[in-house]
């Protein structure tokens, strides 16, 4: 693998042990995928998962003197000040959260605590080479924005932030971005929830192929799918499977036509998705209906538009007294909702919004074994493994269920 003089000096430890480790990991990755060289990245996003293994890697680099050359934005941890008042956790878990915050600050991360950096805070342009972890962000960056990132792990993205490099392979190369699977979307899609279910169906069948969606019926309300609709698609297709690149013919920037999207590739595989498939996906992911305890929305983080939609849906009504209702959102979205008056409406109805928080954190562990409700298949899927059953419904249905105290 070819390395420039500067990259070679990094690898030899001339810029400290932390930089050496980061470059050494990237070289191992580059070798594994036959990368001919490194390329520079101009943006990075890291997971900051709050899981100990991830925090340990950041500490190794910082203790070796590393600072980020390309400061990464970060995924959420959890809003300890707010949530620990409602749901106290053990001192060990509080300590891990504080230790994680401290070490990511020391390495020079931009503490956005937001899992949708590609919508605000860290938005690449067409053709830009970047290193993004977060499975829902990577395909958005690739397919919707036309920037280029592999499906980075939390630790490889941090290595790229420290060195400013990534191995040149995979989705950085033109030939790996072309479609080779055709998806006939033979269903009318009504909003982000339906796009999420579509994503689930595509992810199940995609394997390591690049799907090209053809929208046969009405699939969006105005001139194109909204950011929320596209984000729900990327989130769920990367939960049921791993789809870091896709196209929507006539919509996404590298797919002005079906022919361009395929770029001469053969159609290796073809599926047709109907309403029946979406219903089946919902049934598969959702736990059975019943009385609910917690409604958890915002996986990925709710945007300002979604906070507004929730406020308009619940205006003048009250959430059932036995139901806890939290919306996880980004720092900019909650600020806009506050300025625009939507936060007040949510709070008056008993819905709380909180920034900086991921659903996969210990604060919600008290709801283990009880039925909960979400509009995100990703939330339902991963929380099930944590011992929290979730029913899956659209936002409007979640609000109605929260008022009744029961999902039907």
């Amino acid at each position: 693998m070819y390395l420039t003089d500067e990259e070679e000096r990094m690898l030899q430890g001339e810029m400290g042990e932390g930089v050496r480790k980061a470059m050494d990991m990237l070289v191992a990755l580059g070798k594994a995928f036959d990368a001919e060289k490194m390329i520079k990245v101009s943006r990075t996003h890291v997971a900051l998962s709050g899981q100990e293994g991830d925090t340990y890697w950041c500490e190794l680099l910082v203790d070796g003197g590393a600072r980020c050359l390309i400061p990464p934005t970060t995924n959420p941890n959890w809003d300890v000040a707010t949530l620990n008042k409602h749901y106290p956790v053990s001192p060990a878990k509080l300590f891990l959260a504080a230790r994680t915050e401290d070490v990511y600050r020391r390495i020079g991360a931009v503490m956005t605590h937001c899992c949708t950096p590609e919508l605000a805070g860290n938005v690449p342009v067409f053709g830009e080479h970047v290193a993004f972890s977060e499975s829902s962000a990577t395909p958005y960056v690739n397919a919707v924005l036309g920037a280029r990132s592999n499906r980075e792990s939390s630790v490889s993205a941090l290595a790229s932030a420290v060195t400013g490099r990534t191995p040149y392979y995979g989705l950085h190369l033109d030939e790996n971005r072309k479609g080779n699977m055709l998806v006939n979307v033979d269903v009318e899609l009504h909003g982000a929830y339906d796009w999420g279910l579509l994503g689930w169906c595509v992810g199940m069948h995609a394997g390591n192929r690049v799907p090209v969606l053809v929208l046969r019926k009405e699939a969006y309300r105005w001139t194109r799918p909204t950011p929320e609709e596209l984000l729900y698609f990327t989130t769920e297709s990367s939960t049921s499977g791993a789809v870091p690149m896709f196209h929507i013919a006539g919509v996404t920037p590298e797919a002005p036509t079906l022919e361009v999207a395929f770029g001469g590739n053969a159609t290796e595989y073809e599926i047709t998705v109907t309403r029946r498939d979406l219903d089946e996906a919902e049934r598969l992911v959702s736990d059975p209906a019943g009385k609910i305890n917690l409604v958890l929305l915002g996986c990925p983080h709710y945007t300002y538009e979604q906070l507004k939609e929730a406020a308009e849906g619940v205006r003048g009504r009250k959430i059932h007294k036995d139901v806890h209702f939290w919306i996880l959102t980004s720092f900019d979205a909650i600020e806009l909702a506050k300025r625009s008056g939507h936060l007040e409406i949510l709070e008056a109805s008993g819905i709380r919004a909180v920034p900086d928080t991921c659903m996969d954190q210990p604060c919600f562990d008290g709801f283990k074994g009880m039925l909960n409700l979400t509009d995100s298949a990703k939330c339902a899927h991963y929380q099930k493994r944590r011992g929290l059953p979730f029913a899956l419904r659209s936002l409007a249905d979640c609000i109605d269920a929260a008022i009744e105290g029961e999902v039907r």
Partner: protein, 140 residues
């Protein structure tokens, strides 16, 4: 070790050298589904369920699972001293390579002959990643 041993060229992904008893996984592994206290695989659908990977040389097809869980699984095994000593992988994925890098286990791929036809559970295997060489001494 050298007498009657089979020597195979391979490619270094992560440096280091270690030797020990082999354990052969015919499927992908998610290390989050291992018990860090014992190194035993808990994955109920895996043919090695209940077998320990701790302090053995692991031959595996590939990794599986999200980056965060794969790394955390390996990290918890490291904390308990229950990591495999070295790994030989057929199809390396980015998450496996970066996660194994963090816990500093020697990792090689591209063994010159199909290692699944040569290495069996209980064989003594040395993985010298730095010299890009795997030595296999068959069990008696």
């Amino acid at each position: 070790m050298n007498e009657n041993a089979i020597s195979l060229d391979c490619r270094k992904l992560i440096g280091g050298c270690a030797e020990g008893e082999a354990i052969v996984s015919r499927e992908a592994i998610c290390f989050y589904l291992c018990d860090p206290e014992t190194g035993e695989l808990l994955d109920k659908n895996h043919h090695l369920k209940g077998k320990s990977l701790a302090n053995k040389v692991l031959l595996l097809t590939s990794g599986k699972g999200s980056s965060v869980v794969q790394l955390d699984g390996l990290f918890q095994m490291k904390e308990q001293g229950k990591l495999p000593l070295a790994m030989i992988v057929m199809d390396a994925d980015p998450v496996l390579v970066s996660s194994v890098y963090v816990v500093e286990v020697p990792l090689v791929d591209r063994v010159e002959k199909d290692p699944y036809l040569i290495i069996e559970d209980g064989d003594w295997v040395r993985v010298d990643a730095d010299k890009e060489c795997v030595l296999v001494k068959k069990k008696q």
